[in-house]
């Protein structure tokens, strides 16, 4: 693979990528600079270098945002949602991609339309149901909601990945007498790793940034997730932008770590080269 890359100059790639990186990064750099300013300084000097670096913002944000608690809560919900969603979505994607299901287009239609209802509309009925089930103020209740909300997306993503897998592997396994479950476990799963990692990352990120359902279904402040910490820096009309910026950086760090971990696996999965036959 490397040899082939050398056949073609990669310089244009790096030029384009650097320009895109600049576009993505400049606002983020401004955000970092704002995270060590006071709100008053941000007002006067919103996009320039800080006059004085206030690392205290991070301590204050950590404290006021209750991050030690909210990060823990979010971590629990995120990991559980990823595990359950990928399991449920993995099976479903396999069925949609590889098993001829009667009415699978109807199912696809159903899921797509299901994701189109604005959450503000079904929140109240769902809340009433969850209260009946005693799931208000529990992380479990929210995890089930997140699985329901994000699994269709993961299913489609995984499905689009599974349909492009080479047919020969599955044929070979089938000739050996493998059943659907065995095909799924020994062929589809190992070959779909990049898809699973991507879907897991997307689901994890969605849970991490979600607050609309969390604020409603978790009235108890001690259960609140990390995205609600940013509300702590808000007044009726005002917002402490220094702390908000610092808080948002704190909030992003665990996700970047997760990203790096998953993406490393991703690359490893590729270099195994199973796909290239």
């Amino acid at each position: 693979m490397l040899k082939q890359q050398r056949a073609q100059s990669v310089l244009p790639n790096y030029i384009v990528l650097s320009m895109l990186a600049l576009f993505a990064l400049v606002p983020i750099i401004i955000l970092f600079m704002n995270s060590v300013k006071t709100t008053v300084e941000i007002g006067r000097n919103p996009i320039g270098f800080p006059q004085e670096i206030r690392l205290d913002n991070y301590l204050e944000a950590w404290d006021e945002g209750g991050y030690s608690n909210t990060i823990r809560n979010s971590f629990i919900m995120m990991s559980a949602t990823i595990v359950v969603s990928l399991t449920v979505a993995g099976f479903a994607a396999y069925a949609l991609a590889r098993l001829k299901l009667r009415g699978s287009s109807l199912i696809a239609f159903y899921f797509l339309v299901g994701t189109s209802v604005p959450p503000q509309l079904f929140m109240v009925p769902l809340f009433v149901m969850w209260r009946q089930f005693g799931l208000i103020n529990t992380h479990l209740g929210l995890i089930i909601i997140y699985v329901g909300l994000y699994s269709p997306f993961a299913t489609y993503l995984l499905r689009s990945y599974m349909v492009s897998l080479p047919e020969e592997f599955i044929e070979a396994a089938r000739i050996d007498g493998a059943n659907h479950w065995q095909v799924f476990r020994s062929i589809i799963l190992p070959l779909s790793w990049p898809g699973f990692l991507t879907a897991g990352l997307v689901i994890g990120l969605n849970v991490w940034n979600e607050f609309l359902f969390a604020v409603t279904f978790l009235p108890d402040p001690s259960l609140k997730p990390v995205a609600t910490s940013l509300f702590e820096f808000q007044g009726r009309f005002s917002r402490d932008w220094g702390l908000t910026s610092a808080g948002s950086v704190i909030m992003v760090i665990p996700i970047i770590v997760l990203f790096l971990l998953l993406q490393r696996r991703f690359i490893e999965g590729l270099t195994q080269g199973g796909l290239k036959g």
């Binding site: 007002g43 809340f127 208000i136 009235p219 108890d220 007044g235 009726r236």
Partner: protein, 441 residues
Amino acid sequence: MNRKTLFVLLTLFTLLFGGTISAQEVTTVTWWTEDYVDIDALNALLVEPFNAANPSIKLEVIPQTSLDEAVRTAFAAGSAPDILQTPGASFIGEFVDAGLVYPLSSAAAELGWQEKLLPWAYESGILNGELYSIPLTFESMILMYNKTLFEENGWTAPTTFEELQAIAEAAQAQGINPFGYGNSGFQPANEHVVGVYLNNYAGAENVYAALTGEKSWTDPEFAEAIELLRGHMADVNWFNDSLETWFAYGWNEQWTALSTRESAMMIIGTWGFRGADEFFGETTDEWDWAPIPPFSSNLPEYNYMLATGSTLSVNGQSANPEAAIAVLDFLYSDPARVLQIASGYNYGEFVVPLKFAAEDFPEGTDERIARFYADFGAVTAEGRVGYTTWTFWPADADVQLWQEIENVWYGEMTVETYLANHQAVWDEARADGAVPPIPTR
């Protein structure tokens, strides 16, 4: 993978079953409040003293993000808190219509609330002859200005429209914007200026007549008021430096502008004390405030617009309304305690409309803030009051007022159409009985 799943499942189970609360003998009263309150301070200044004084009641104040949405959802499921806090009077009508509010008249009479509260504030909670809510915080609109800038230019706080206009023009000649304000991040901020122009140009008397249905919003004095605002906004650029910049200025930008002399003045509510303190704290300039002068020579003197920031009620479905009433009474019986809580917000929140005496204010209260509360008390006691749109307008009319005004500013809608639409929404609200209580004048 398996071990991880097991770990997650175990964590889930501990969360589910470990968190159950043991049964208690005392009555618990829950109060959901806005998430911007300083809950530690509130616990220390209100919750703990109350619980100590009332061993049979346990008060729990819980901040909620998007409070009104949380309360609505909880009502649907029958799990709303005992004490209802709403962001404004328009909610009370909806709650009362739905039979969700506990009537407070008899408790109020028994506990003498009418004597403790400012009369207009007490009346603002009376719907169809019954008391349903009491403001948790009150506010008014004022004119804030950069005092140092004013002194250097020999300007004094304007007391008439001519003086205001002279200052505005002098400021513009120096490249300073007369007003710094905008709606970025909070679109309803439009109503802050619309309300002031209606009240200060057409006069509170006329606004009252229109609120009570004696007058129409299409009458000429209202049309002139809106036209005056449109001109200031779109023609002579009194706000920031153009109409378009109105949409680029939010809290931070407007305070930065005022404290760095980009702008000279600001029409804002008394919640602005908080921003003034913070943003002028890092400059050598000083701020001050003055009552907003009348914008018309027909009006002899200034007044203060009445406004409630949020309201308190007792949930009609509450199992313990008496305990909730005890909490309210605890709050209303101690003006010094209220002011101590309010001082934590520089008197921008938790200013319960009680009859404060000068000695109720904590020591070291900013002279400018003390001056406001003294003057507000004196002037409103004479009946010189105006009406803010977010307290005395029905929800629909309020939204129309702050939303369609943008079409007027951009010249997409005539003042006549705007006010005709406004009157139409009012008529509808009046027919539906959705008009909030208007204290008699």
